[in-house]
Symmetry: D2
Amino acid sequence: MTRQKKIRLGMIGGGEGAFIGAVHRHAAGLDGHYELVCGAFSRDQDNNTRTAQSLDLPAERVYDSWEEMLEQEAALPENERMQVVSIVTPNHLHVPVSIAAAKAGFHVFCEKPAATSFDETKALADAISSAPVLYGLAHTYQGYPMVWQARHMVESGMLGKLRKVYVEYPQGWLSGEEESHNKQASWRTDPALSGASGCMGDIGTHAFSLAEFILGDKITQLCGELNTHVDGRRLDDDGAALIKTDNGVTGVLIASQVCAGEENPLKIKVYGEKGGLEWRQMEPNSVIYRPVDAPYQVFRAGQPSVCEDAQSQLRVPAGHPEGYLEAMANLYTAFAASVRSGKSGTADKVPGLASGIRGMAFIKAMLDSSGSEQKWHSIADNHD
Amino acid sequence: MTRQKKIRLGMIGGGEGAFIGAVHRHAAGLDGHYELVCGAFSRDQDNNTRTAQSLDLPAERVYDSWEEMLEQEAALPENERMQVVSIVTPNHLHVPVSIAAAKAGFHVFCEKPAATSFDETKALADAISSAPVLYGLAHTYQGYPMVWQARHMVESGMLGKLRKVYVEYPQGWLSGEEESHNKQASWRTDPALSGASGCMGDIGTHAFSLAEFILGDKITQLCGELNTHVDGRRLDDDGAALIKTDNGVTGVLIASQVCAGEENPLKIKVYGEKGGLEWRQMEPNSVIYRPVDAPYQVFRAGQPSVCEDAQSQLRVPAGHPEGYLEAMANLYTAFAASVRSGKSGTADKVPGLASGIRGMAFIKAMLDSSGSEQKWHSIADNHD
Amino acid sequence: MTRQKKIRLGMIGGGEGAFIGAVHRHAAGLDGHYELVCGAFSRDQDNNTRTAQSLDLPAERVYDSWEEMLEQEAALPENERMQVVSIVTPNHLHVPVSIAAAKAGFHVFCEKPAATSFDETKALADAISSAPVLYGLAHTYQGYPMVWQARHMVESGMLGKLRKVYVEYPQGWLSGEEESHNKQASWRTDPALSGASGCMGDIGTHAFSLAEFILGDKITQLCGELNTHVDGRRLDDDGAALIKTDNGVTGVLIASQVCAGEENPLKIKVYGEKGGLEWRQMEPNSVIYRPVDAPYQVFRAGQPSVCEDAQSQLRVPAGHPEGYLEAMANLYTAFAASVRSGKSGTADKVPGLASGIRGMAFIKAMLDSSGSEQKWHSIADNHD
Amino acid sequence: MTRQKKIRLGMIGGGEGAFIGAVHRHAAGLDGHYELVCGAFSRDQDNNTRTAQSLDLPAERVYDSWEEMLEQEAALPENERMQVVSIVTPNHLHVPVSIAAAKAGFHVFCEKPAATSFDETKALADAISSAPVLYGLAHTYQGYPMVWQARHMVESGMLGKLRKVYVEYPQGWLSGEEESHNKQASWRTDPALSGASGCMGDIGTHAFSLAEFILGDKITQLCGELNTHVDGRRLDDDGAALIKTDNGVTGVLIASQVCAGEENPLKIKVYGEKGGLEWRQMEPNSVIYRPVDAPYQVFRAGQPSVCEDAQSQLRVPAGHPEGYLEAMANLYTAFAASVRSGKSGTADKVPGLASGIRGMAFIKAMLDSSGSEQKWHSIADNHD
């Protein structure tokens, strides 16, 4: 066995005060596969410098802008320069930075959503497919081992033929007006920075992506409604949809950021002819399995009964809870394995471009449906 | 204080093998306000006799048919004859028996739904309003004390201006085919006995009624879909709807009988500007209250912090669970108080005709919406 | 089939303001097997009269004292007089009334504890064994169907050879001083009315009895400590013990009435070589079963996987919660069956004299142990 | 602000197949304060090499033995050599390695227990107090932010004067015989490697330490019993104790490794005159607060109502669960702050030597008590 070198990571966005940048850094650090070597953390240069110093980065690898970072890193010797770039900016930069990074030969690990609109994903897809790089999308919840257990239960037939899916993501943190909140609230409700949808783009895509991942099938039609419950808000802060697959599964998707008092209780329930399952983000180490006419069972992270894909993404024995950062770390660690293996396109066990495009197609259909008097709308993910 | 005489109760339906008849008898017995004096339990005379004997009824007060019972009881001296009739037949008899009983001067306590269709409720309303009798409808869940606490939280402003309501009622007992089930499954999926809707009529009406009760407001529009997931079934076994009130509350209503493995987890969540609440039928002695930016609180049956309407419907101290039969008993006990007070029309603290009509209007709108390409449908409860 | 006559029930104690008397009346009413025909509810004659009138009792069957009631009822014709007497007085009367009732030929259904001391149980045992009557003891928690399921799991070997038992009963209602509480608190902390132990006699006996019932074995040794945490209280309000059986099971028993904020969370956990189980009074319709190396399972009241003894004591389908009153009603209903069958001594499925004696032997051992410097004390239930 | 340099960390123990070594590495990596620079992971040189290579360590910083590592690292230039050593060996090496490391001038971060016996802690204390180094002990559970919240609730008087503490730590992983288990089971049940106590030393100390931390007081007396439930096992696998403080708090401590089916549900409940609290390791982001006569409240990690000490140890917003590795990372991160500040002795917010000595004093008292006929034993932590 030869020495397993750390992967050189750069970060764009994620200065002090940002939420998700720190999450990515914790996640990249947890398993020891990455070394952060450079960053352009903020356009505010004080913030940029402070962030870099707190991370023990040498001054020459801290850049004033993402454009400069991509250019100068590309000019470094191959064994020094950044290999992977984490993009943790507001949404409107996800596509431009991803495309530029791919063109410069860097693997891209991008915070979701992949884009601000479905249309924008076409250029992104073209750029990624033309470059010998990996593209990973931080649908963090797919990094939870027990989400893989849920998917395994469906795949292995424990539920029988599927009939129902209910996925809900009710948050409360945008119940008040923006003034009373933080920087997060401010850019996430600004169409110029966030995209055409607020709540549905921010967390509805998580719910949608999680549902398709566990179902192993596409949700092809929806009848949805977006709402803005807080006066003066410029984007939706709430919505729901009746949903369908082509294989006869029906259900409901709910996403809201005005469910006052709720934290982050993303939950999914799936039912088939032979039983049902339930997974909850706030108790992520369990999957409840309800077979017909038998006691319900709770599959627990770390127990021998759990599937191999779940086991391999766990770090500690049953009963020692792993959480959100571990889920994100699983994506980073899986991405590292694909980087080391020389793969391009989609990394094993990491949501990729296809997932990003599906998410934006879902948003497009929700926006179309919400204003429409027509009941059902298709979720189309082709760019023609 | 004078002696508080027991109320003489008769029962139509509820022979051996029926579910809800026994529930009504337990409920009527719990608080000691009723004495069962007569019955027409089943058209199967063996069943009818066996049921009557197990209940210690004298043979002369056991009748071959409900028509005979109403006629002969009416002919008895006033201080002997039945005062209240409980109707626990399959749905198609609810209206004919209710009307006949009202005309004969008996107070009516009817299992839900009030009717098999919205149209049928007109004659019922006419009959009830013309007779000096009470009409109660067994929306059992409104007998839970902590449902009153939830309503109180809304009414007293603990949630602020309301924004969201989610109500779900996922059962699993009709996941298989009828053959594999019992008598219950069989009549409930037969349009001639059950009415035009299966699942939505059976349990969707509970969800709808509960939501309007706690909101203290009418749900005026819906966009719904009914499904039949089991091959060969003649009525819907599943459905969902996006819902709205005229006051800006939006939400989702879910009812299903093919959520394999689920028992009876009726649940409601309501959110306003200042906080949210949650009540679950399977843990009925708690209401979770989630104020913005404070620890969530669990209001518990029997604690001094619980509202008077909840307290007065409880029997044992906090921590001694009361359940489904106690909820039904609360309706019977409240009905008894109105009987004793000489009231007619609607009994205090018991769902009445208006609630029954709203339920049937909801079903009508669901049926209209489900087949339609139009997105939104009104829930209209006027008979013009 | 012949008509199943109601059993004529009398009640001693249980006037307005008492807690447990009403519980017994609800329980006796729930299944329709009893008719309350007489009572001596309170030595306060106003209370006695008011209680009787609220229960629709004829004045001639309301007695000034329990002595008078036993005497006069015995003088009535056999087909009119009380058959069963419920004793719901403070503890100090349990033995005298039970003995007198047995001697007068009435079946006795007595609230726990059976006596105020172990010594007192000798005369009780003599009286009961000499009379052709049944004796039932209201260890209510043994009326919960899922407690039978727990016992079944042990008996049928699902846990393997037993090793551990933990039973805890932490209440909070005596956290304050008596003045701030009700009538309940006052007599329960008075040695003259309650007996030599407060908390341990009141609820420790429940915990002990439940543990022996589920283990199917005697707890033979303990090392215990009683505490009085509230200044000025005359009896223990708290305690705990290390416990052992002769078959190698070890464990802990906890009972407290100063666990501020707790309601009534009696809980038991039992572990054997092959798995463990857990039952909680506040969620009484579930038993958690934890087999080694497999997902844990939740056995639910009403599911087909539940044992026959549990099923037969349930009234409604899975998911419709039954609670404390139903548990007590199960004892009353089982007692009724033994009354009808002409049995004497112990009724089937109802805790009897042996259970009462065990409870008092436990209290004796706790009192001995608490003051002692010796570590282990035997729980001896022989009267020699 | 100047650049915040990473701290150079070395590790002794923790080769492939070990559990806790990897936990320490994840924890040290999570917040980015450490760089692993050297290690002596295993006496098995293949394991040692493989572990080092997987961690991207240069060959010259991988040592054959801990003695060699301490010697050679001490000889390196100050700005290169290890600053902190993590000791993650079996228990019998904790004291010898800690003493040698302290003497060589390295800060020590040691897995618990601090020693294999109370006597052994004397030399350890002498060595630490004589050297200008920090000593941290990995009582991981004190790294959970909500454990600090629990302590805060006690300290700030939310519970009033304390009365009761119950702490329980029931695991099931040693329910079977050692052969059927892993390397972990094998050394943990070997007195030569583990020390004089098995279960109580391994996890009882966690429970004890957690209780004293939250109480903010010493547990001074116990009456305990150790058991060995699995035939042939050489150390205790189970035990319990009645416990007391000098300030009138009484309670129970339970630790077991034969509670078949249990994972890692360490739980503590504390009650005072005004209310109670509960914290559970398997749902570590909540503290339940039960005030007298008010709804119970659930304090949640990340909510503004949580105390500053808890907030400052959290990384993500409320509802994004943090777990066991984050708890350990909190200890590492707090230790890093004290390293940087030049402190010696005990690091802020990290259990130190005093905690280690208390744990061993507890074990000594448990061993004394278990074999004794005397009821109460003191927990004495002085070395005279």
